[in-house]
């Protein structure tokens, strides 16, 4: 592999996607955006669904369930939908699993590539716009069924606060004040978050709230997976604050999930043994 060199007129600058196009190193037709030449996408490819993000006192909590479905079948029990985008931001994705993973990989690289070429990171707003452009580039595929709808959240080091951005399939970007949800279970999840949300809540309370939201969503939406104590699988939960992106470990999630289930049992009036 030789060193990629450009003249002053065709230099792609810090844009990694443009670099891929210019060098022809990406997938045929360029990364994303290459519409599949079929009248419609194959119906039964894996899809991932519900993700939520909640702003709390000193940052943001993001969470996603672990189920992927293909048609009526569960195709994966431990898929991950919440990823670090860089040190101070994360991205959660609902939609067709393959294009979603590709978009996340490209987005992560785009941010890191920019940071290395320019010598400084992109602003949080700039990162949100970059992701919007990627979602927009995916529109032709989305119209054929390969929809990708992310949530972007991060800690804005300039403004010293957590911020959340939602998207639609056309790349439309909407900043949310307090919380956001995406995926087929988002209606239920968002309702739970809306009812339990308190401004400047603590990290622990925000974590319990997103776990509850995903649990309730899994109760009503077949494409959203609930906590699975048999396989020891819990939602992916990440906290982003001034110290950066941290994924919570399974021990903490197990403890919080068990407490959540106890709470739901006692709400039904018993220790669970008598609940039908």
């Amino acid at each position: 592999m030789s060193l990629p060199r450009f003249g002053p007129h065709d230099d792609p600058g810090p844009d990694f996607a443009a670099l891929l196009r210019l060098t022809g190193a990406g997938p045929e037709g360029g990364p994303l955006g290459a519409a599949v030449r079929h009248p419609q996408a194959p119906p039964e490819i894996p899809h991932g669904t519900t993700c939520v993000a909640v702003r709390y006192g000193s940052g943001v909590v993001m969470a996603g369930d672990r189920r992927a479905t293909a048609g009526h079948l569960i195709s994966n029990h431990r898929i991950e939908k919440v990823f670090p985008a860089d040190r101070h931001s994360g991205v959660a994705i609902a939609g067709a699993a393959g294009p979603s993973a590709e978009m996340v990989r490209l987005f992560q690289l785009q941010l890191e590539h920019y940071e290395k070429v320019e010598g400084m990171p992109i602003s949080l707003e700039g990162k949100a716009n970059q992701l919007g452009q990627m979602v927009r580039a995916n529109l032709p595929s989305a119209l054929q069924g390969l929809v990708v709808v992310p949530i972007f959240a991060g800690f804005d080091t300039a403004a010293s606060k957590g911020r959340i951005f939602e998207y639609d399939v056309t790349g439309g970007r909407y900043e949310e004040r307090d919380h956001a949800a995406t995926g087929s279970g988002s209606l239920h999840a968002d309702t739970v978050v809306k009812l339990g949300y308190r401004p400047s809540m603590a990290r622990a309370a925000a974590t319990d709230l997103v776990l509850d939201a995903l649990y309730v969503a899994s109760d009503a939406d077949s494409a959203t997976g609930g906590p699975d104590p048999v396989r020891d699988v819990f939602p992916v939960v990440a906290v982003i604050d001034a110290d950066g992106y941290v994924r919570l470990d399974d021990a903490e999630l197990r403890r919080r999930t068990e407490r959540l289930l106890r709470r739901h049992r006692s709400r039904r009036g018993g220790d669970g043994a008598s609940a039908s």
Partner: protein
Amino acid sequence: MTMPFYAPPEQMMKDKADYAQKGIARGRSLVAFRYGGGIAIVAENTSSTLRKVSEIYDRIAFAGVGRYNEFDQLRIAGVRHADLKGFAFSREDVDARSLANAYAQSLGQVFTHEFKPMEVEILVAEIGLDGDGRGDQLFHILYDGTVVDEDDWVVLGGETEEISERFEEALPDAPRSLAEGVRAAVAALAGPDRTLSAQSLEAAVLDRGKDRRAFRRLTDDEVAAILDA
């Protein structure tokens, strides 16, 4: 049609080499060395925005001396090379040796085929995957594409002989600490008649810590604390 004057190839190469060396000697030098926790690079640089040392990839750093616009162009090409390779294959497939070879090809090509050689010397450093530093690599690449695989430390720039002598004398045997190495490097760069403050230095490390991206710059305060100790 006018006939060009005949110049023997030896003379042409020598002229080009002299030209490049002169350009490199005009700039300030830098020192790179291995220490217990990784690899450190210390450069004399009064600018806090125009960098000589920077990150290429997870475990790979770049440093250049000579003409800023030329080595900065090489730095960006290196970032592109590494990111493209990591995207096409996997992150662990990106290595310093292949990058050093790509640099050598490119510099050698410019040196023999273009009118003006590049007035730069560059360093590609990589820390190994195992914690004991066995996989560490320091590639020193010259303006004509010559690659030197350095073992423990290296000096780039003008006056390398004097600086190397002073550095070798001041540098404690491995395993050494970061602070010991930085103090020796600053003393060697400064020479007997000058002292260098933290503001006129640029220092960065490839840290064998747990982070995926090992590259980290030392702040002026950190450097000052090391020098004052």
